[in-house]
Symmetry: C2
Subunit: 193 residues, 2 copies
DNA sequence: GTAGCCCATGACACGTCGTGCCATCAGGAG
DNA sequence: CTCCTGATGGCACGACGTGTCATGGGCTAC
């Protein structure tokens, strides 16, 4: 059965339960063969309630990214003064890489495995990356950077971070993400001369 | 009525007619308020036939991009020898920019206007950019580049090209795309130090 | 020319997705 | 105790996308 048995009716973690149910079902039987009513039932909720917490079937995989804009603002606000724009951005990713990823490597891997299994999910992942770039771009503009430079630089940062994340997830488990991030940046610099 | 009146039943341009009908309807009443049956009817076809030519409602806006992988192979095969990988990629985009865009600026603008109006379309555009990067990555790997370098470099190229396309579409109409492309690359190089 | 194959299209049924609308019900404020 | 707030249940509905079979025009073979 679901997780709904022992908890009060208005358990405050409905979104979390739905996310867990979805991750399980997607891993068990694939994304395409899982229906929203199945997810809702396993979480002890109804279909209608699922769509109150998530915009669509794909969105449940990106619950964790909802706080990204807030995190971005906080991290970039903590950056030391006097950094060049690109160092400011990379400092932000470095801080996030040191802080919140190495402990969750297997969870991130499992999630990525599902996303890679279906083009619709890959599509949504790209939109989320774009949204993250947009948030960074906003901070850069607030710091006085010209709009086109901010757009270019935030996309550059997300590109490096995503590539580093891929390397990190495929490589040995004891390699810290922030190291991979630095190496990826150096590799791209070398490639682009 | 539609375009179906004067032409034979098996007109070979069903996809083109559907694309034209969709562009008109999206411009007239918006993407969200247009249904697939409406598009099919204006093209003189049925809904079922629409879905034989396009995977879904969004796909009709990306008909022109189907030839991209072929174009990429052709353009990169024509590149002079001895280029560094990054110059090879940028040479490809430069060739495309000189060749096929400046004459279609208004058409590209109209299409972009529609895509920017709906997040689902923006999402699909990102997937198409990713697919283009994948095609370039494949060519680079064939040329002997290491896989991670190829992925990084193809994404870099697409990033620069997309940013240049944005600048070009927003700027004065007599500015050739290949110039904007060069300037965008220089701007990013300057920003990333 | 006509018999027969090929294949794009038409037509229908169906499951799933996502939303609008109203009813229900727990808990806090007074 | 009553009222109010807010999350959830339940239902109906339109749109999306696919499986399946029928239709009919164009083409080749003979």
């Amino acid at each position: 059965m679901g997780y709904g048995g022992a908890m009060g009716r208005w358990a405050p973690d409905a979104a979390i339960r739905l996310e867990r149910a979805a991750l399980e079902l997607f891993a068990e039987q694939g994304y395409a063969d899982t229906t929203v009513p199945q997810i809702a039932a396993r979480a002890g909720l109804t279909t209608r309630t699922y769509f109150r917490h998530f915009a669509d079937k794909r969105d449940v995989l990106f619950l964790r990214e909802r706080e990204f804009p807030t995190v971005v603002s906080a991290v970039l606000a903590d950056a030391p003064d006097g950094l060049t724009p690109v160092d400011l951005v990379m400092h932000g990713f470095d801080a996030v890489a040191r802080d919140g990823f190495d402990a969750w490597r297997e969870a991130v891997r499992a999630r990525r495995r599902i996303i890679r299994s279906d083009a619709h999910l890959r599509e949504r992942e790209l939109l989320k990356s774009s949204a993250l770039a947009g948030a960074i771009e906003g901070v850069l503009v607030e710091h006085g950077l010209e709009a086109r430079d901010a757009a270019l630089l935030s996309s550059f940062g997300v590109l490096v971070f995503d590539a580093a994340l891929d390397d990190w997830l495929e490589g040995p488990s004891d390699r810290p993400l922030h190291e991979v991030l630095r190496e990826t940046r150096e590799r791209l610099d070398r490639l682009t001369g």
